[in-house]
Structures are given as structure tokens and as C-alpha cells.
Symmetry: C2
Amino acid sequence: MAERTHVTLQDVARAAAVSPATASRVLNGTAKVRDDLRERVQDAAGRLAYAPNAHAQALAGASRPTVGVICHDVSDPYFAVIARGIMRVAGDNGLLVMLASTFRDADREVAYVSMLRAQRAPAILLIGSGFEDKTWERSLAAELGPYLRGGGRVAVVSRHRSLRVDSVLPENRAGAAALANALLEMGHRRFAVLAGPRALTTVADRIAGFRSALAGAGVPLSEEDIVECGFTRDGGYAGMSSLIDRGMRATCVFAVTDVMAIGALTALRDKGLSVPGDVSVAGFDDIPIVRDLTPPLTTVALPLEQLGEQAMELALRENSGRRSRIVRVEGRVVIRESTGRVRS
Amino acid sequence: MAERTHVTLQDVARAAAVSPATASRVLNGTAKVRDDLRERVQDAAGRLAYAPNAHAQALAGASRPTVGVICHDVSDPYFAVIARGIMRVAGDNGLLVMLASTFRDADREVAYVSMLRAQRAPAILLIGSGFEDKTWERSLAAELGPYLRGGGRVAVVSRHRSLRVDSVLPENRAGAAALANALLEMGHRRFAVLAGPRALTTVADRIAGFRSALAGAGVPLSEEDIVECGFTRDGGYAGMSSLIDRGMRATCVFAVTDVMAIGALTALRDKGLSVPGDVSVAGFDDIPIVRDLTPPLTTVALPLEQLGEQAMELALRENSGRRSRIVRVEGRVVIRESTGRVRS
DNA sequence: CTGAAAGCGCTTACAG
DNA sequence: CTGAAAGCGCTTACAG
């Protein structure tokens, strides 16, 4: 490998025949400098293609303008929309944003937090449901605590409360309950649920909300009606397929995320079943693509972009109180053509 | 804001009653240290929740394990799959990956490169078509050149060659030509193209390939048959809508990306036209979601994940030669149900 | 306004 | 094996 050789402030100062201090002041605009010196410095910097060493700057006390955002998978459309909101607010505040995917690997998540902490990033955002996992939470808290005490800002979206940091929380229970009520209203009485891992708080909350609304109407939802499958499009496909294979009795299937519902719809198509003719399907989140499906998907719409905006704003705005702030965000049931009335 | 106060190596060393040098050696495992000292250091570090300052480490010469990846929009499914490939290879090599979205803003792109350069990231990857824009290219080259000379690694995907860096290039012309031939074979003779900005090299190449294959068969493609619209799902929707409104004569529409084709399909559905009954639709890229559309989309499949893997590998593998390396990647036509034969 | 100097928190030869 | 010291490249009081 070629020698790593960099142009330094020293080099620029020397070329401009000024002190490093003066060169620094010119390049950062932190103080008035005589015109001719300023020009010489700018000239030299341009000529030498000088790029300041961010590490040295940071070490010397300059502030870092790059916030870190950690999610499970940037390619998940749910996250993608949230990220857009985060970046909008960050951009408005002159901040750059760098994203990382953990693929739900706890170690990797801690590694990213640790790296961001080591880099003294001004803020860290954690997006997406956490696991009900004490060990994981503890090692995460072990990173986050000192980071916060050191002046770092943290905000999370959809994360279990026990982290005790500023949070944006979708009303998963209420949203799922509202959806259940809408489906009951359409005449459905036999349901199945495509669930992701139950240890995910988001999954648990959505199932609980859905189930309690059904219970309120005297409609049971047994454990057999709940298929636990991957929290992905392929998971939804597999879950729906097995549901069909074992002889589904449900008139309506609730997939706990739109992404899973997409897989479910394709599984139904592949098995030759029609939606909503043979069975109705509903999801949760309202990611943009569901409008392009055939039929368009009934779902609980979360203001995803706002979720991201609010999280970034929480991280930006000083928390004057002594306890963590929580912003709760409501979902709204959107009925589209993937669900139909039951002919009685 | 709370005082930013951090635990330093000094603090750990003091607490363990050793020198900073020894503490450093223990924490990095760079040299043998007597067992009792080692334990004292590890104890102290744990107790104080010590996190090394990455800036100081970097400045002192340690290597940085985080590569930067810059794309137009992480939420674009095309990029998402490529990113997965990048991350797989990076993970195998013990590297962390941070992603950034530019939203096609040249200034922002340069800002990210500059930041990564300032941070002395070991490698920078640029993903996605560039504009045919000299000014942009120049300012980018002004950052990349010194970065490379300083020992940084750069690799790009789908980027115009003039940057003169290691590249992974999909065979856009050949792929589009093969698609055109397949469609001709199905009996189509009247085509329309939904194109993104012509200044994007990817768009220009795909149109050129498509058109030249048609020309080879004596089928003209006039400028009026090409609708220039946004390089997004909404662009495809708008482009298709206007095509319909002005009285489309084509039997087959080629959208230069799958993402645009998705919008086109929905526009057709909204106008009450059936695919492929009334009109056939084809895309390019083969992003995963197109299998879930109804009907599934005919397209040119690019091995997207491999594109990312190869780019990361280029950045990792020393370039012994004096010129930049180019990896060309072929597309493969995949006929699905969104295209049909023309009954003659 | 400008410069010399100290200091940010590490790592790594260099001595012992 | 261990420690004192120099140095990485900046910024910012502190003097002038």
C-alpha cells in the first residue's frame, strides 16, 4: 500500500508563511485575519488540497457534526421512511447522518454504539423494536449510560421503555385494537395472525392489542391461530403457506407488519387463493409500497416520517427535566381492498 | 448541557496504579503484561466504563475499522440489496459500515466524502449512477484524488468511468438490448420508454441499448416515445399517467428501472388498464419486490448483492497495477407475467 | 491581529 | 515486562 501521507495544517501554514494558529483561524473563520494573510492561507490550502484531520479537530475540542443512526436493516421499507424523516430534520440543522444495519445482531449493535461513542458522535438514534432480552439490554445500557453522562444524546423509536432514554413510541396496542374492531365490524369472526418473534416488544404489543379487542367482542384468538414466523417478507410468505397447508379456517389474516403481509399476499396468490374473495389480509405500518400491491393493503397507518423527525428532534432538544421523555404516536386504520365484508 | 466529561486512559491507569502505556497494552492486547497488572487494568476499565477516544486512537496511528458508503437514497430497494452485499463482505473482514444518503444533492455528496476523508476512513464506496455533470465530477475528484493519494481506497458502482477509480459496472446497454430483443420476439413493435433524467449515465445507457436493438429490427423509437420523468416510483406513475392521457399507442412500455415500473403498473391499474392484456410492462434491475407485484414484473436481472460484494472486495484488495480496475457485470432477461405476446 | 505554547487522549518506539 | 517521553494534527486561551 502507498505510504499514507497527508497534507497537514503545518504544511499549509508553512506554504503560506504564517503560523499554524493563523492558518487554523482562516480555515475555520473563527477570527479576523488580515486580508493578505487570509488569501495566502486559502491559496495554499487549495493548492495542497488540504483536508483537516477530523480526529485531530475533535481531539482539540471542535464539535462533530455527524449523528449516527442504528437500525436493524436499512433495506426494510419501514425503516427507510423513518430515516427520511431523521435526515430531513438533521439536514435542517446542518448535521450529516450516517446509518448502520445490525441485522438484529446484538453484538453488532453494541459494536456500532461503542464506535459512535468512541467517535464522540453528538447523538445516537436507535430505531426499531428491541428484544425482550435482559443481557442484550444490559450491555447496551452499559454503553449508553456513560455516553449520556459524557454529554451524548440518545433517542429511540419503537424501543422498549426499559432503556430509559428519550423515546418515540407508536401506539401499537391501540392501533392493533382499532384494526381488530374495524375487521369485526366487517363481519369477520375467525382470525389468524402472522406474528414475528414474540420476544420483540412490537410483536407482543400488536398481538395483545388485537387479541384484547377480539376478546371484547367475544371472539377468541387461540395460540393455534397465531403463526410465529420470520419478521420479514419471507417470514410472511412461509407463515401464510403453512397456514394454508394446515387448512386455514380464518376469514381474515392479520400480519403484524406490512412487510410480512406482502409475503402473505404472494403466498396466497401462489396457492391460487384470491384476496379478499377467499380471505382478507391486513397489515400494520402503512409503508409506501402497499399502495402498489394488488389488492392494495388494509393496514394501520403510522406517520413513519414523523417518527423519525420526532426522534431527531428529541435528540436535538435539550431535556431539561430529570426523566426521559416519551412521545406517543397514534396509528390510524386505513381500509383498502385487501379486506372485504363477510357475506352472512 | 451537562459537562462533557469522559473517562480517559489516564483515569484507568491511575485507578489500576500502572502507567498509561501499560493500560493501553492491556486494553489493546498489543503486548504481554503481567497477569496481576492486566487484571487490575481490566477491572478499572470495567468499573469506570471506559471507552477509548477513537479520535485520539486514530491520531496516534491506530487503524479505523469503519468504511463509508454513499448512495443516493438508502431507501431505494435497488441500493438496499447492494448494501447488503457490501455489508456481508465487510462483516467477513471485521469492518463496520456506515451509510449515507445524498438525495442526489451534489453538495451533500461532497460533504460526506469530505467528512469521511477527514475521518480517515479506510475506504469510501460510491453507489449509483452519477450525473453527466463536469462541475460535480470535478469537485468530487478534488476530494477523491487527495484521499486516494493519502492511502484511502475508493470503489464505485454504476458510476461514470471518468472518475477513474475502481468500478463495478452493470452492462446496461447490453441488458437493455437483450430485453428489447426478447420483447420483439414476443411480437411487440410499438414501444414507449419511461426514462429518468437523461443526464444520468445509467438512463442514457439503458435507452441507448434498448433503442439500438429496436433499430436492428427496423423498429423505430422516436423521442416522442420516450417520457422523461422522475427516477422514482412516483416518477414512473406520473410518466405512465401522462402517456395514457395523451393516447398511448405502444403495446409495450419499458421503464428504465423496476422502481419506476412499479409506479407505472399502479398508474395503469388506476386508469383501469390491464397488464399485460392492454399493455405489457418491463423494468430493469430485478429488485426483490417485483416478484410480489401482480402481475410479477418482466425485467433485466442484475446480481445486485454481488455488485455490492465486488465493490467492497475491490476496495479491500490492493490494486497492484497503475490503472483503475473495472468489473463488468451482466444482466439476464427474466420474463414474467407483466409482458405478453402480441396476438397478430 | 498574530504567534508560541499548551493540551486534547491515545500509541509506540526507546530505554531500562 | 514496564514506564517516561515523544508525537499524532489540531484549537484555543494567553501574551504580545
